[in-house]
Symmetry: C2
Subunit: 319 residues, 2 copies
Amino acid sequence: MREDDLLQKLQQFWGITPEIIVPNGDDTLVLKHDSDKLLLLTVDTGLENVHFTTKILSFREIGYRICAGALSDIAAMGGIPLTILVDLEVPPYLNENNIISIYQGIKELQENYHFSIGGGNIVKGSRLRLTITVLGEVEKDYYLTRSGVKNGDYIYVTGDLGRTLMFLDSIYGLLEIDKEVLKILREKFAYPEPRINLMKELKQKYRINAAIDISDGLGLDLSRMAKMSGMDIFIEGESIPLHPEVKKLDFEKKLLLLKAIQSGEEYEVAFSSPDDISHPLVTKIGHAADGTGRIIMRLEGEDKEISQMGYDHLEELNK
Amino acid sequence: MREDDLLQKLQQFWGITPEIIVPNGDDTLVLKHDSDKLLLLTVDTGLENVHFTTKILSFREIGYRICAGALSDIAAMGGIPLTILVDLEVPPYLNENNIISIYQGIKELQENYHFSIGGGNIVKGSRLRLTITVLGEVEKDYYLTRSGVKNGDYIYVTGDLGRTLMFLDSIYGLLEIDKEVLKILREKFAYPEPRINLMKELKQKYRINAAIDISDGLGLDLSRMAKMSGMDIFIEGESIPLHPEVKKLDFEKKLLLLKAIQSGEEYEVAFSSPDDISHPLVTKIGHAADGTGRIIMRLEGEDKEISQMGYDHLEELNK
């Protein structure tokens, strides 16, 4: 089974009350609650041996990374976080100091994003798991969804792509990478930046029509945005933002770009806008036109459809 | 380490924003959000082989039971649920129909409690896990916490106690119980009733000063309520509500009552009130007086301190 197909079937169970403006087919629920702001609610899970191992991340980094991932969903709606809840599954090998380190990692994000830790829940289990619930808010008349891409919009992405996947490939022994460069790749994996403040700033200066957190990779998530908007998206392969140190790696350019498109959990935001945006953290990578949800990337003069390139959480499961 | 000690240490990380009225040391966060209602936010997890197994519960029952447990935290605040998010970890042996059954179990609760399923998140893992986030609301001037017990209050508990633990004891081969009776015990385990509507009704008729969801057993959870209120609580053992079929079991009365006090995940609510409450689903079990957080149970003329009798999620973990 594919994740998107299953989620579509499950939608029969969702959204029965009039308060729900966007059910979290968008990863984040948007909810009216007699206020001039809308509420945002999202939940995200990091699982040992699925999303991380304690061999490659410290406990502090695990706390930071999983929390950043949850905040990233709020960023993609153009909102800000108010408070989070922490649900922690504790395996027998974890001690009290390890748990406090996880919380310290979460707390590192508070300085920039001003949410509170509303509380926590601890359950004894067999593996380390961290589930973060975020309650946030967004302006009533300006929240971002996946379905708002307009004909002629430019497509943008924040930050740089590919470091996460290349770091993991190196860890798994699929790539050999110089230690100093590996540090730079690791930095993005351990301390991704949720784009909350950036999206807020962009919304103030420009019209943003649609946005998505590209946690399953640019290819797959752009294709979700394109499908829900009834658009085709055309990408200029050469324009996909790579980190300078990644560009220098001894790889074919084409391979690097494909890695960047498939790299999951980058916690960057892809968005569409009719405006010409100039910002050091934002790259224009293409444009949208009426269509059927395809993602077409032009690379070395050739067009290639890349719509399904990314990480599907359920693809390997039995039917 | 003990769960309560650890949670106390973690409180240094909680509640930095002025919106937070009660951090979820009460299991449920209470939050101001420019409205005449307060928001409630809670998260609860059910884990395969910790809280249930697929041998003793169907997928539909798993969905129902875990969701009921999360709703129970809202009941203990005197609130109502607005919407829930479903975070599901799917092991390889689960198929699509199993997942839909879990959602159907959750949906069964909608008829009585009118929340919406705001959306879901699915992650591939190794065991079945269901994490339910509930967003609820409560009147600004009448929400219930653990710390409100007043000198002279009566102590009440909803429903009947003990069936959950006796059912599990029987499943684990510790007790031998007649099949027909086992069905009645199982009913409580598979389909616990979150006391949302009952607490709402009681709040309208009576003054309720404090409440707690006794998910870790009456003894341990009452002791939390007593400690946070600076009270001692005196229980008349004989008055603890047992199901009629449980009373008939061939056990010493004392043993039955101790089982009832230790039985976790009953999803009943214990609360304190100065009023004489008469309700078929509510039992007066004792009273409170100024003190230090002890729970003293009178049984066959003898007083016994039972403050720590219950389920501690972390007790077996290493330090």
